[in-house]
């Protein structure tokens, strides 16, 4: 795949989808229940690109046997995943309002048995990359050519099991694994660099035998390019360190520790909706110019 495999219109469409997904996250939180807003908003572009463009999936057949798979290892990004799934047609957006409520399919952390389309349950950090390695090993045994994607957090890099899995994937040359690190620089208690620094991530992953790229994880075109390059490089597993912004999209949330997990007051919800509307208007103007 090259740079030219997507048009600027498609890029614009993806950016618009990201706004729709952000709106879904706001609705899910405001009408449903307090959520991990910060780390969901930082992963919007990655997840939107994956489910709308990069992955081979079918929302009507969520368990389709040849689908690419996605392990959300940072399971607290569940709101982000639900928001993208609803936009992609896995279930009606109305269901987002049940998030975190009694009897819901939309648990605070992902439950594969409640919601078809989730490839692995998660929530306890550090386990997803091992699961992805197992999936990729099985695919190799079965001669399946599909890809396994993983979403991890930068805080999650502190979990030792991640590095056990990194060794395993490199040892077995699992080049069908494409992992994203949603590097929003923060964890529950503050900035990752202040609590337990995980940098330099590029050098770490390279020294573990991975093919590494570092991109602006809020830029959909860079995400598409990085995934395309990863697919073309053989013999190593791939990690894309995506520099993102925790709470991305809303000025009062961005890079603020207290927005790791929270509910929204009515004022906050309205303010956020207004910011989205402004961003949508800007896109509409841009689309108009393009046409």
């Amino acid at each position: 795949m090259t740079n030219n495999d997507w048009s600027q219109d498609e890029i614009l469409d993806l950016k618009k989808k990201c706004l729709e997904v952000r709106r879904n996250i706001l609705d899910l939180t405001f009408y449903g229940s307090s959520s991990h807003l910060g780390g969901s908003l930082s992963s919007v572009e990655i997840l939107t690109c994956l489910l709308f463009r990069i992955m081979s999936i079918n929302p009507d057949l969520p368990l389709w046997g040849k689908r690419d798979r996605l392990v959300i290892s940072k399971g607290h990004a569940a709101p982000g995943m639900y928001a993208v799934m609803a936009a992609r047609g896995f279930f009606p957006a109305e269901e987002l309002k049940t998030f975190g409520k009694s009897g819901t399919r939309l648990q605070k952390h992902l439950d594969m048995h409640k919601l078809p389309g989730i490839d692995a349950s998660s929530g306890s950090l550090g386990q997803g990359l091992s699961i992805a390695a197992g999936m990729a090993l099985a695919d190799r045994m079965d001669g399946k050519e599909r890809f396994t994607y993983v979403l991890m957090g930068d805080g999650e890099m502190q979990e030792g099991q991640i590095w056990e899995a990194a060794l395993t994937a490199a040892q077995h040359k699992l080049d069908k694994i494409i992992a994203f690190v949603d590097d929003n620089q923060m964890q529950v208690d503050g900035f990752t660099k202040d609590i337990l620094n995980v940098e330099p991530l590029v050098q770490k992953w390279e020294s573990f035998g991975w093919h590494v790229q570092r991109i602006d994880g809020s830029d959909v075109e860079q995400i598409l390019k990085a995934a395309a390059l990863a697919k073309s490089v053989q013999g190593k597993p791939h990690v894309i360190i995506a520099d993102t912004i925790k709470g991305k999209g809303f000025d009062f949330m961005e890079l603020k520790v207290e927005w790791h997990s929270r509910g929204l007051t009515e004022d906050e919800y309205c303010s956020a909706i207004n910011q989205l509307a402004a961003a949508e208007a800007a896109f509409t103007a841009l689309s108009g110019k393009g046409a």
Binding site: M112, H113, D119, A120, S121, S122, G123, S124, G126, Q127, G128, L129, S130, I131, A132, A133, G134, M135, A136, L137, A138, D139, M141, D142, G160, Q161, E164, A165, L167, T168, Q171
Partner: protein, 315 residues
């Protein structure tokens, strides 16, 4: 003495490989202890040695199972349970993955390595997990039956393995359903329910007791979960007291499981033979059995105590 079966876990895997093309076997640098060398040689494409990465081993097993594989993962019992409890809870039990965890050298069968390698609480930990079936096979025949049963029943399971060789005590036909507790000796004065290596000791103890006129029923119980409640309750009703015998802490294992069942439906004295809230140490099997009170004399004493309690209870 009972005849021995060599490498029962490794031999079981070789047998299963013939009928289950989806079988994958995983080690974490203890392939010699697990006796999986023959499998690795014969089926290299279905075998993985993941090195000393137990937490990762559980996740990789889960990922394989999520892709339709039947996974048998083995290492020392302490490492595949207490070391990786959250990984087992979430990646295996919660996700209901078809992963069979095999714990080798459980509890005091690990005499040469000492306390750090002796899983005194593996069965308690695994019993507490939803969706997890739990086995402490009473002999090599039972281990083989457990492996075949599990290969045909998708879902998480924990089984204690047997290293190098194990006795063949049970009749293979009678032991085919590993979930069924088997009555091996009849008696009306008391019942000894034994799991794992304790069956052989229980049979020896009961033979001794018979000389003194005490007739004791012996039940071989390999499956701790789901446990054969019907047989346990029948023994409680018919013999009036029970002795449990396990190579495991008395907190949360066989003795606890039996107590929970009779306590609810048919209360009779249950005297527990097992390890009493202690970490282990190095030593011979005989030394450890004596020190931690899981030997033949301890079962003898427990039966006498149970019979006394039964009499006292009746009066």
């Amino acid at each position: 003495m009972y005849p021995k079966i060599d490498k029962p876990y490794g031999a079981g895997l070789l047998k299963l490989a013939e009928t289950h093309p989806e079988l994958v076997v995983i080690d974490a640098d203890l392939s010699r202890a697990c006796d999986t060398g023959d499998f690795a040689q014969k089926y290299p494409e279905r075998y993985l040695n993941l090195g000393v990465t137990e937490a990762n081993m559980i996740g990789v097993s889960a990922g394989l199972a999520l892709s339709g594989k039947l996974v048998f993962s083995g290492t020392f019992a302490c490492f595949i349970t207490q070391r990786v409890y959250d990984q087992v809870a979430i990646s295996v039990a919660y996700m209901q993955n078809n992963v069979k965890l095999c714990g080798i050298e459980a509890a005091l069968t690990s005499g040469s390595n000492g306390a750090t390698h002796q899983s005194m609480m593996d069965l308690a930990l695994m019993r507490a997990l939803p969706n997890m079936r739990v086995y402490d096979p009473v002999d090599a025949v039972s281990l083989n039956a457990v492996m075949h049963y599990e290969a045909d029943h998708p879902g998480p399971a924990y089984l204690r393995g047997i290293r190098k060789s194990g006795p063949a005590i049970l009749d293979p036909a009678a032991a085919a359903d590993p979930c069924k507790a088997l009555i091996l000796r009849e008696g009306r004065d008391a019942t000894v329910i034994a799991s794992g290596i304790m069956l052989e000791r229980a049979l020896a103890a009961v033979d001794e007791l018979a000389k003194t006129g005490i007739e004791v029923r012996v039940v071989a119980l390999s499956c701790l979960k789901p446990i054969d409640e019907e047989t346990i309750l029948r023994c409680a009703a018919e013999t009036g007291c029970i002795v449990s015998a396990e190579n495991h802490t008395v907190i949360g294992g066989l003795g606890s499981a039996v107590s929970e069942i009779v306590g609810e439906a048919c209360p009779v004295p249950v005297v527990k033979v097992g390890i009493h809230d202690a970490f282990g140490e190095v030593g011979s099997a005989e030394y450890l059995a004596e020190k931690f009170r899981i030997g033949v004399p301890d079962i003898l004493a427990a039966v006498n105590k149970a019979v006394e309690l039964k009499k006292k209870y009746k009066n």
